[in-house]
């Protein structure tokens, strides 16, 4: 277990460094000179040089990358001459746009994206798994057909379509819900939930449909396994057979999917956030793209990658807990 864990942790760090390198190359090498952008139109050659030096852009690329990487762990001092700025421990640089620390920007927005992702995840797991398991246990009946037709249909709806329909139906016509405005959980949990309900639903419908399909086929496969027959033959009640034996073993593929999806969403559901105007990381990212704010883009990408990689690791470790057949 310890050996497995340490091997995986080394792998995780390797993947993250690789992703950082690719991202760094794409966003710092390809686009137009950020110094020129910062300097403005009437810019003298000396001033441009000074800005380049200030931003560290005059260094060789590998040096810039190394400074960036080591800066994340040890902090670094940015700038030169009289204008220096110390950037503390998790240093991801400063936004070109408003000179705020990228780390602070990310941490500022993270609660919104995390609330959106986690709330939606609870909803879609409840909806998707119950629909999938019900359909699997009633395979080839009317219930199964109806649920699966619904799931295929819902999975084909783009999230912006679902969102607009929900906004139209529940806000404009029925007037049941307020137009989403993020309220921090700590301030008012009730308002937090009622404001996020619509975005949760919009995301959950799409994912629940996918999970229903996946969990149905997984459950059908598991319920045909010999150990299920054994459990039945022992005379265990059907409920125990389904929940303790079937569901537990059938959930491993779902868990893999869930790790990927939740990891991906934690760092911002770009479309959902922009439709509902939620000030999360997805919106931050979308905004940074239009202004070419590379430190922010790089920061969001790295954060997203970290979430995905860590979620995958967590899922692999959870396997041993969920599925008794898995050993490390």
């Amino acid at each position: 277990m310890i050996r497995y864990l340490s091997r995986r942790l080394i792998g995780v760090i390797g993947v993250l460094v690789a992703i950082a390198a690719v991202t760094f190359t794409i966003f710092y090498v390809l686009p137009s000179d950020p110094a020129a952008a910062a300097c403005g139109k009437s810019c003298s050659a000396e001033r441009l040089e000074a800005i380049r030096a200030h931003m560290g852009l005059d260094q060789p690329l590998w040096q810039q990358f190394w400074d960036f990487l080591s800066g994340i762990f040890t902090g670094r001092t940015l700038g030169s001459g009289q204008y220096t700025l110390h950037c503390g421990f998790p240093c991801l640089g400063y936004s070109y746009e408003n000179s705020e620390s990228v780390w602070d920007l990310l941490m500022d927005r993270l609660p919104v994206s995390a609330s959106l992702a986690c709330g939606a995840a609870v909803l879609w797991l409840l909806l998707g798994l119950s629909a999938g398991v019900t359909a699997a246990l009633r395979k080839d009946t009317l219930v199964d057909r109806v649920l699966m037709v619904g799931a295929v249909g819902a999975a084909s709806l783009p999230v912006y379509f679902t969102s607009m329909m929900l906004i139209y139906g529940l806000i404009r016509v029925a007037g049941l819900l307020p137009y989403p405005q993020y309220v921090a959980f700590g301030t008012d949990p009730l308002h937090w939930a009622s404001n996020l309900l619509l975005p949760w639903l919009a995301l959950a419908i799409l994912y629940a449909a996918m999970y229903a399909r996946q969990s149905r086929s997984s459950m059908i496969e598991t319920m045909a396994e010999p150990f299920i027959r054994t459990a039945r033959a022992k005379g265990l009640p059907r409920r125990t057979v389904v929940v303790k034996h079937g569901l537990r073993a059938g959930m491993t593929p779902i868990l893999t999917l869930f790790g990927m999806d939740l990891g991906g969403l934690l760092a911002g559901a770009v479309i959902t956030e922009s439709i509902f105007g939620l000030p999360g990381i997805g919106r931050l990212f979308h905004g940074a793209l239009s202004t070419g704010d590379q430190p922010v883009i790089l920061g969001v990408t790295l954060l997203a990658a970290t979430f995905i990689v860590v979620a995958n690791l967590a899922v692999d470790l959870l396997y041993a807990v969920v599925d008794p057949r898995v050993r490390f």
Binding site: I26, P31, S156, P158, P253, A267, V270, I271, V300
Partner: protein, 310 residues
């Protein structure tokens, strides 16, 4: 889903592909989805012809079809649907929606199909190589698959699309979407190849003096074809949806070239005042994704019954 017994009209001794075709022909969902797919593919292929038939080019402004006193709302019911404009017009500009939807089908499907082709070719090649050669090749390719799958793909695609400024948008988008899609299919093919490579007939070919290239193309490739075809059909809807999402976020194809995602993004502002403008491209997108999903489900049931997808 359906019973495994082969229908009576299939003559005894017919090959697996004939059996598969007969099984496909029995399903209603396959017929319906094939019809929808054929409809949109024909629409995309004959886009210039069709919009010529409708009488409007996708970029023609028709000021007579919108009411300048109502903020440029289309004149007439249902977003200006009339004999002249079959699916109505865009608010403000008065561009013909039929011509734009048809043109958008061409752009959306072209990108989705080409990206799928890239993914399938690259994924199959990588999967077969990793599975057949094993050892170091497998280790390198498998790590590369893991790495690619750890990328936050949508965020990365958006970022790459917005960084590259003066490139052909359609080519770039195809490449970017294709870049992140290949590991899924490569894993399926790798697993299938692993189970095939020590079958008797492959060993026989090896003993008979076939080189690796011949074995891979003549013996292994036909063996993985079933799952690959099923998987291909199942990733097309994802490709269409990704293209639409990127265009929706404004980093896809640039106006005036229409694509469904971009049309939906533009229509969101009018969802209240001119719902048809929003509904028409959305329905096209929905139907195409749905049809390909149904088709892929049926193909997977038939061609890959044990489900090599994990």
């Amino acid at each position: 889903m359906t019973t495994a017994t082969a229908p009576a009209e299939v003559p005894a001794g017919s090959g697996p592909w004939q059996l598969a075709r007969a099984e496909l022909r029995r399903r209603t969902s396959v017929k319906v989805s094939l019809f929808i797919v054929a409809l949109f593919v024909l629409m995309a292929a004959g886009a210039p012809l069709l919009s010529g038939l409708g009488g409007w080019s996708p970029d023609d402004f028709d000021k007579a079809a919108v009411d300048p006193y109502l903020g440029g709302m289309p004149i007439g019911p249902l977003g200006g649907i009339s004999a002249d404009h079959w699916l109505g017009v865009e608010p403000v500009t008065g561009r013909d929606l039929f011509a734009r939807v048809v043109q958008g089908a061409q752009v959306s499907l072209l990108i989705a199909f080409t990206a799928t082709a890239i993914v399938v070719v690259a994924g199959t090649a990588a999967g077969i190589a990793a599975g057949y050669f094993g050892g170091r090749t497998d280790a390198v390719l498998s790590r590369l698959m893991d790495l690619t799958m750890s990328f936050p793909s949508l965020i990365f695609m958006i970022a790459m699309m917005s960084v590259a400024k003066d490139v052909n948008r359609i080519v770039l988008m195809t490449a970017v979407i294709g870049l992140f899609g290949w590991p899924g299919i490569a894993r399926v093919v790798r697993g299938q190849t692993l189970s095939l490579k020590h079958r008797e007939y492959v060993d026989a070919a090896r003993v008979g003096g076939s080189g690796p290239w011949r074995i891979l193309t003549r013996d292994i490739l036909p063996g993985v074809a079933g799952p690959v075809i099923a998987y291909t059909t199942l990733i097309i809807p994802g490709m269409i949806a990704t293209e639409a999402a990127l265009s929706y976020l404004g980093v896809g194809v640039r106006p005036p070239t229409p694509s469904w995602g971009q049309m939906i993004a533009e229509s969101v502002a009018f969802y209240d005042t001119d719902p048809m403008y929003f509904v028409i491209p959305s329905i096209c997108l929905f139907l195409t994704v749905l049809a390909f999903t149904l088709l892929g489900d049926a193909l997977r049931d038939i061609l890959d019954p044990r489900g090599s997808r994990t």
